[in-house]
């Protein structure tokens, strides 16, 4: 992703009802992919887009209250908020992902926003991560975004924070965010550990050093991963147990 050689490769997923003028001038380095609703973008798929090589991803949807599918845009908003956390964890600038909600029949043309966004990405320059580290982190982020428990929380966020939960109470927004934060962090770290231990069995110390965490936190994650059948002891070298990833169903 060299900065100077060419303008950054940007993909823009656009909802069917956004920018529906006749001719939409699209800048050279931007690709537009139409989807029925911007809420349709599976978080894991957005991360896959980064993995495949795009340097910037913009999701374009309708500004509330004009979403044709009632709250598709709000779901997208929540997903992007979570994705930015994942990107940050993965060492990628969260600004590389942008959610643009425009009123139908937006005054300004799409090309204006596209140029503005590609300048932002261009200013960011190359991502600090080396190639293999980039792949590792993004793959872990993608798999975390596919974890059952993260997706259940994301899916039910609106219902639990806006309407009510099983006990008839409304969960305060900040409380839910804090919970989601923990879950995102935990799942990311666990899938990063899973990724790291797929090829080569590794020890807690080694993982802690790579992840920049305290060893006891890593050990705690490993106990939980064992409980969920994600990792198992491979062998013991000297006084250090080495763990190997298990294929998750």
């Amino acid at each position: 992703m060299s900065q100077d050689s060419h303008p950054p490769r940007i993909v823009c997923f656009m909802c069917n009802w956004a920018f529906c003028e006749e001719e939409m001038r699209i800048p050279y380095n931007v690709d537009v992919i139409r989807v029925m609703c911007i809420g349709r973008m599976d978080p894991a798929l957005v991360l896959e887009t980064f993995i495949k090589g795009f340097e910037g991803v913009m999701l374009v949807g309708c500004k509330p209250p004009d979403c044709h599918f009632v709250d598709g845009n709000l779901h997208a908003e929540r997903a992007v908020k979570m994705l930015k956390k994942l990107l940050a964890l993965a060492g990628l600038e969260p600004e590389r992902l942008k959610l643009l909600l425009v009123a139908p029949l937006e005054e300004r043309a799409f090309s204006h926003y596209a140029k503005e966004f590609s300048e932002e990405i261009w200013r960011l320059g190359n991502s600090p991560l080396k190639k293999d580290e980039f792949i590792a982190n993004l793959t872990a982020a993608k798999e975390a975004a596919s974890a059952f428990r993260l997706r259940v929380l994301l899916g039910r966020e609106e219902e639990l924070t806006e309407f009510m939960n099983a006990y008839g109470e409304k969960i305060p927004e900040e409380e839910f965010d804090a919970l989601l934060d923990d879950v995102v962090k935990a799942e990311y770290i666990r899938y990063k550990i899973h990724y790291l231990t797929r090829i080569k069995p590794r020890s807690v110390k080694e993982l802690a050093q790579i992840l920049g965490l305290k060893p006891f936190a890593v050990l705690r994650h490993i106990t939980n991963m064992r409980r969920k059948g994600m990792i198992a002891l491979d062998r013991v070298e000297g006084y250090t147990p080495l763990y190997k990833a298990l294929e998750v169903r």
Binding site: G39, D42, L45, F54, D66, R149
Partner: protein, 572 residues
């Protein structure tokens, strides 16, 4: 992508289900959202030959049924239809290509009113040689002769009829049914099917003493005379009797022709007035006074001319079979109105004299003609009848509906197929998918058709038109898109009615999809596994994106499909 025939799409959005002609409202509104005005007209024309006319005068049952009424205000469907039709007429008029004759059987249509012309339009499209016989000098029937210019300009009517002519329909004017032609003469001339759509021309009598004094002219004759350009002198003070659209038209025409004071006497109250509320307001704005719960007892004349009208006060009793409450006169409540002209506007009746006796129905109370409500067959094989002549005075759009049904019957009759097979209209279900009204936000109407035509310079007009177009598109966005995929042809390849599919082996039944789906199309079945209701699913894909087990995928636009699009984009 051709539009799905009606019988396949049993579940229609409320607007389309309510419209007698089943105009695909959702489709053309969606096109308007995209600014594709011409395609919008093309969609309308598929079901309705008179977009501009109906855009002006239709009583819009679709707006009453619009789901948005539960939220704030119905979508301005009629106004949008009018705008797109006018734009198409002004800017890029589409000249229809004559349809090659596929069949040889000649069809005769009697009466060039909305019913007759629609039947001709539909049969022409099917490839039949059609000839329309019209008594008057010009085709259009009620549209041309009964509705005043300020509501429906003549050139608009002419323009729309021209489109039908271009399709290859032959219109013979000045031919009177019963006199110049009869059923036997037509049959002899080789017409295999005949459709009688002569409408109801004669106005209903008041049946009060003094009715035939000078200065009393029935509203239908009054309006027809003006439409024919005859000079009619209008009295100083005019009283119009009746509450329908014709009464309002007559009153406003009288005002426009110089009458100082025009009043409308109506025997029921304002709510029961059949006229369009919007028209009533315009009449009030013209200064016309309304007197409710009054009915004429007799017309008092002075040496042969009208001097005053004596009326009785009314009170409303139990509703009659039409559902409106029956007015009952209050004894000794006579009072007089000094007028020099009285225009009765009580509705029209069929000129039975014109019709052959064997067609007339035996019992007098019901409609005059003996007609099968579904197939419009009369008791003479090959002879069909529809529109006002069969149902009594009704709206233009209902006549168009009748015309369409007649065309189908004639087509099946000529191809001797069973006329009744799966044609039951009632089975069309009205669906609005909205699951939770609290989620939706109120948006007030963004577009109202201009009352008065603005006088603008050319540039100003251009800018004004652009403004109207933007407003129309914003208004179009208020449409909730109730029905399943509206085939709005917006982006052909994308939303050809994508549907969600559940992989039952992966689904654990966590029900997140049911919570997410804006239309409530996916639910857990008794086996505890998610199941998609094909008819409700609008293909938005939210459930697929959120499914925790990634068990739901979209048939057309699946994640893999998007991924390939990403990869191809990268190779570019």
């Amino acid at each position: 992508m051709t539009e799905k025939p009606l019988k396949e799409v049993r579940k229609l959005p409320p607007c389309r289900a309510a419209c007698p002609a089943h105009v695909n409202v959702q489709a053309y509104v969606a096109l308007i959202q995209r600014g594709k005005f011409n395609e919008a007209v093309e969609v309308i024309r598929r079901d309705l030959p008179f977009p501009a006319i109906c855009g002006r005068v239709c009583f819009s049952p679709c707006e009453d049924a619009c789901a948005r009424v539960n939220l704030d205000q119905a979508v301005a469907i009629r106004a949008l239809k009018r705008l797109v039709a006018d734009i198409e007429r002004e800017q890029g008029r589409v000249v229809a290509q004559p349809v090659p004759k596929k069949y040889s059987e000649k069809v005769a249509i009697i009466g060039a009113g909305p019913a007759g012309l629609t039947a001709a339009y539909e049969l022409a499209k099917l490839g039949y040689p059609v000839t329309v016989f019209e008594r008057m000098a010009e085709p259009g029937g009620m549209m041309r002769y009964c509705i005043p210019d300020f509501r429906l300009e003549k050139f608009v009517v002419a323009n729309e009829i021209a489109y039908i002519k271009d399709l290859g329909v032959e219109i013979k004017t000045g031919v009177e049914f019963g006199k110049d032609i009869t059923i036997e003469s037509l049959k002899k001339d080789g017409y295999k099917a005949i459709f009688i759509a002569i409408g109801t021309q004669t106005g209903m009598k008041l049946n009060v003493p003094g009715e035939d004094l000078e200065g009393v002219i029935n509203a239908v004759d009054f309006l027809r005379a003006i439409a024919l350009g005859k000079k009619i002198t209008v009295g100083e003070r005019v009283a119009v009797i009746g509450g329908g659209n014709t009464a309002i038209d007559a009153a406003r025409t009288a005002k426009k022709l110089g009458a100082k004071e025009v009043m409308i006497l109506y025997r029921r109250s304002r709510e029961e007035m059949p006229a369009l509320p919007h028209e009533v307001e315009l009449a009030e704005k013209d200064g016309i006074k309304f007197y409710f719960l009054v009915a004429p007892k007799q017309i008092i004349g002075e040496n042969g001319r009208v001097k005053a009208v004596e009326c009785l006060r009314m009170r409303l009793g139990e509703p009659d079979e039409s559902g409106r409450r029956r007015p009952i006169p209050i004894a000794f409540s006579e009072h007089q109105y000094e007028v020099d002209m009285v225009i009765p506007a009580l509705g029209q009746v069929v000129e039975e004299s014109v019709l052959p006796p064997e067609l007339l129905s035996k019992d007098k109370r019901g409609p005059p003609l003996q007609v099968d409500p579904l197939t419009l067959e009369t008791n003479i094989p090959g002879v069909f009848a529809g529109g006002d002549v069969a149902t009594g005075p009704a709206s233009i759009i209902e006549a168009v509906g009748a015309g369409k049904r007649a065309a189908i019957s004639i087509h099946r009759y000529l191809r001797d197929e069973d006329l009744r097979k799966d044609r039951d209209e009632e089975k069309i279900e009205e669906t609005t998918w909205v699951k939770d009204w609290r989620l939706l936000e109120k948006k007030e109407r963004r577009y109202e058709p201009p009352i008065e035509k603005p006088h603008l310079s050319f540039e100003e007009a251009k800018a004004y038109l652009e403004k109207l177009k933007r407003q129309a598109r914003f208004e179009a966005f208020r449409c909730l898109g109730c029905g399943p995929c509206a085939e709005c042809l917006a982006s052909m390849e994308l939303c050809e009615g994508d549907k969600a599919v559940v992989d039952e082996s992966k689904c654990v039944g966590c029900n997140v999809c049911a919570v997410i789906c804006p239309v409530g199309a996916v639910k857990k079945n008794e086996k505890g596994v998610a199941q998609v209701n094909e008819e409700l699913c609008k293909g938005c894909g939210l459930c697929a994106a959120r499914c925790p087990e990634r068990a739901i995928s979209m048939q057309k636009l699946s994640n893999e499909q998007i991924l390939t699009m990403i990869l191809t984009a990268l190779e570019r």
